[in-house]
């Protein structure tokens, strides 16, 4: 009556657990979790099963279950991620903040209902306040309103601004380079946004004329 596939899930462990009042051991939970993942998920559209296999960073942060990582482990994860950051090929960091605003508003991309090859959004407003005009913003990440202004960026091209410009690019490219278990996607590293899109988001955050800094 139930499918064989489903029976293979948790059921396989009932024998193991018989007479075990204290609850399952870590190993039993590990094995059951792997079986459950295997029996429960299937590919759909562009969402392939390899998405379930975490890389080293995600593995460590999953296991931590919200607790802070061991400092040495965190540092090594951050170093690994920092090494992936690719600075823009042509040395240009700042694009068009108007385009950046559109990308920040757009929450689409890479779900099983999205088509391959379509440009993804940045989902930025889902988690951050950015420009003052948008009232519908999330609070998972810090407010980015006045991002450039608060950091004293009056000309993103000036040498004075270089450190903050580099950091911001790096943070967008791979947020885990600065915070091992950041909740923020690795937009450049994971291929969510391309260089041109990242430049536009940089402009939204750092261009003095962007409403983020001018209003």
């Amino acid at each position: 009556m139930m499918t064989t596939k489903r029976q293979a899930g948790l059921l396989a462990f009932s024998a193991l657990l018989a007479g075990c009042a204290a609850g399952p051991s870590t190993r039993q939970v590990d094995e059951a979790t792997q079986q459950v993942l295997k029996s429960s998920f299937r590919e759909q559209g562009i969402a392939r099963l390899d998405r379930l296999a975490p890389d080293a960073s995600n593995q460590a942060c999953s296991e931590a279950q919200g607790r802070p990582l061991d400092e040495k482990l965190a540092k090594s994860i951050e170093a690994e991620n920092l090494a992936t950051v690719k600075m823009p090929g042509d040395g240009k960091f700042i694009g068009d903040w108007r385009e950046g605003e559109k990308i920040a508003q757009n929450g689409r991309g890479m779900t099983w209902s999205d088509k391959p090859g379509e440009a993804n959004g940045g989902s930025c407003y889902n988690c951050h306040q950015i420009s003052k005009a948008e009232l519908s913003f999330g609070s998972i990440g810090p407010s980015l309103y006045n991002y450039g202004k608060l950091r004293g960026v009056s000309d993103p091209a000036s040498p004075d601004s270089k450190p903050i410009v580099d950091y911001t690019w790096g943070k967008l490219w791979n947020a885990k380079a600065y915070n091992a278990c950041s909740d923020m996607p690795r937009f450049g590293h994971a291929g969510i946004l391309n260089e041109a899109q990242l430049r536009d988001l940089m402009a939204l955050l750092l261009d003095p004329k962007s409403p983020v800094n001018s209003q």
Binding site: L37, N58, F137
Partner: protein, 265 residues
Amino acid sequence: MKWSLWGLVLLGALPMAATAQKSTAEGIAEYRAMLADGNPAELFEARGEDLWKQARGPKKASLQACDLGKGPGVVKGAFVELPRFFPDTQRVQDLESRLLTCMETLQGISAAETAKTPFGQGEQKTLEGLVAWISAESRDMRFNLPQSHPQEKLAYEVGKRLFYLRGGPYDFACASCHGEDGKRVRLQDLPNLTKNPGAGNGFGAWPAYRVSSGELWSMQRRLNDCYRQQRFPYPGFASDATIALGVYMGVNGKDGASIAPALKR
């Protein structure tokens, strides 16, 4: 659904003058308060009660002999104790999964076929009504999921693993949005599902009528869309993964009151 005069009272009490400038949060609270009276989920509840009693399927039988965990035919209070372990299937099952079993054994409607059916169509539509009515029969009762069977304990631990599992191109886990207090995505409050009151409030709101789509969503459908937004692969309907997450949330929400079927964005 209770039709109190609450909505009216609230409407009268709220300052409706256009001059009153409210904060965004106050504005949203006002919007929700105005809608609180007249939740269309009630239309689904009515359909569900009929579907429970109607002789249907190849075996032309009703679901009135279905055991939702408190004995054959007992509906009241069943919802707040699910998911739980069922000896006949040797499996931890949530409401949707259990209904698949009952529809198959009592009515001869294939569980595998229904699980494969797209949401909102065919027997999935039947389930919308059933979960609305069955959950409504436990309205205001407190969650008390059993954790005595080893499989129930295992399901909780597996659910916890899945809750914290980061994956996909965005590195999202359930915990990315639902692991802390006081967070929002856009303007929607995100319940912290790791403890109360968030777990009780969050888990206890589904099934719910979603105003954005005008549909009645079961917890299985809610979790399916969470995984879509998480950029994960597709979780099977009533799969062990989505059931285990239900156990994790429901146990964390112990003693929270069920308001399902609620009204959601």
